[in-house]
Assembly symmetry: C2
Homo-oligomer: 203 residues x 2
DNA sequence: CCTACCGATCGGTAGG
DNA sequence: CCTACCGATCGGTAGG
């Protein structure tokens, strides 16, 4: 007996619009992308798109909400799963890299938003990301007390740099990779984050 | 007796156009900036602007050429001035930071180009920057032989990361600084570059 | 979800 | 360096 279902089930039109918009906004930028292009990618007409998202700005909000809500789910699970203090941070870094390597469009879109709408991103950073930055900075400070993290690390500034290292790095990876083969760029990114955080094991 | 002068002397119109275009392209992006806005900023009309730069694309080329030719002058002098091997690289990093901190618009513009026209930037990286990246990577390798640079550094990948760390970092500095006071972001940027390159002094 | 259409703005040209 | 103007394309609406 088939389960009852109201109206939608397959890859929802609204979801397909968000996907196409994410891809095109990331590649060309918000202003350089027309609603017709997005509609074409989905296989509908522009006025149909505007039925689902009343304006281009509403569409951008939808795209950004989808991106950030993913982190809203992932981050708390990550932080509670990691038990020890300073290792917490390394796990988050690895997961951050994995998240954006899987879908570089997200990195490019986030970076574009920082450039295009700095005031909105500042507000988001203050209200949404600040608690997480504080939490991660605290776990780094704990590592410093235990003598396993370099004492000269500015914990909060370091966290912001790692976010930039990963988001910005993945955003421009394709360009940088013309001079490098394989995963050298991503591997060096992780080495850089770790080497500048932890004290050398011996020497 | 006043010196003879042909036609221009004061802040040249062409130069003022390039300045206004740099500022606006950096802040809003190429597509989101209209020729009228640039002309207004200079105090002339759009067709007059198009007399100096026949098309919007020509204007962008002019802006990028001016930016890169500045480096064309600065970099060789820097490299020949620095005598010792691995310290060369640290000097270039400090100078790179100074260059972009003075004028963050250049950083934002360069980063936007990497996002908007990746193929063109790849070509530029291959033909123009590759020799410098090689040279810097060699001086890092020399430091590794002398035992003063960490042996696990991937020299070429590291150089590209430092370029990104500085260019991208300065580009988003304004946003990141809402959570930090003073020069903490820039200071931590330099610490990160150094700590991930050099071996710890003692321990 | 569509066709048909709107005013505004874009990059660029004519002509002086 | 200007006024006047061009065709194309934009985001968005009317109406079904």
């Amino acid at each position: 007996m088939p389960v009852a279902r109201a109206e939608s089930d397959a890859p929802d039109v609204r979801t397909r619009i968000l996907g196409a918009a994410t891809r095109l906004f990331a590649a060309r930028g918000f202003d350089a992308t027309s609603l017709s292009e997005i509609a074409d990618a989905v296989g509908i007409r522009k006025p149909s798109l505007l039925y689902h998202f009343p304006s281009k700005d509403d569409l951008l909000s939808g795209v950004l909400d989808a991106l950030l809500s993913h982190w809203n789910d992932l981050l708390p699970r990550l932080l509670s799963a990691a038990t020890s203090g300073y290792e917490q941070f390394d796990r988050v870094t690895v997961e951050l890299v994995a998240f954006f390597v899987t879908d570089p469009d997200r990195a490019r879109l986030l970076f574009r938003e920082m450039l295009d709408r700095p005031e909105e991103m500042k507000a988001r950073l203050l209200s949404y990301f600040r608690p997480w930055v504080r939490l991660l900075a605290d776990s780094i400070a704990k590592g410093q007390e235990q003598g396993r993290v370099r004492p000269d690390v500015d914990a909060e500034a370091y966290v912001l740099h790692v976010i930039h290292l990963v988001v910005g790095g993945i955003a421009v990876r394709e360009v940088m990779d013309v001079l490098l083969d394989g995963d050298r760029f991503v591997n060096e990114m992780l080495r850089l984050a770790r080497a500048s955080l932890f004290l050398s094991p011996a020497r």
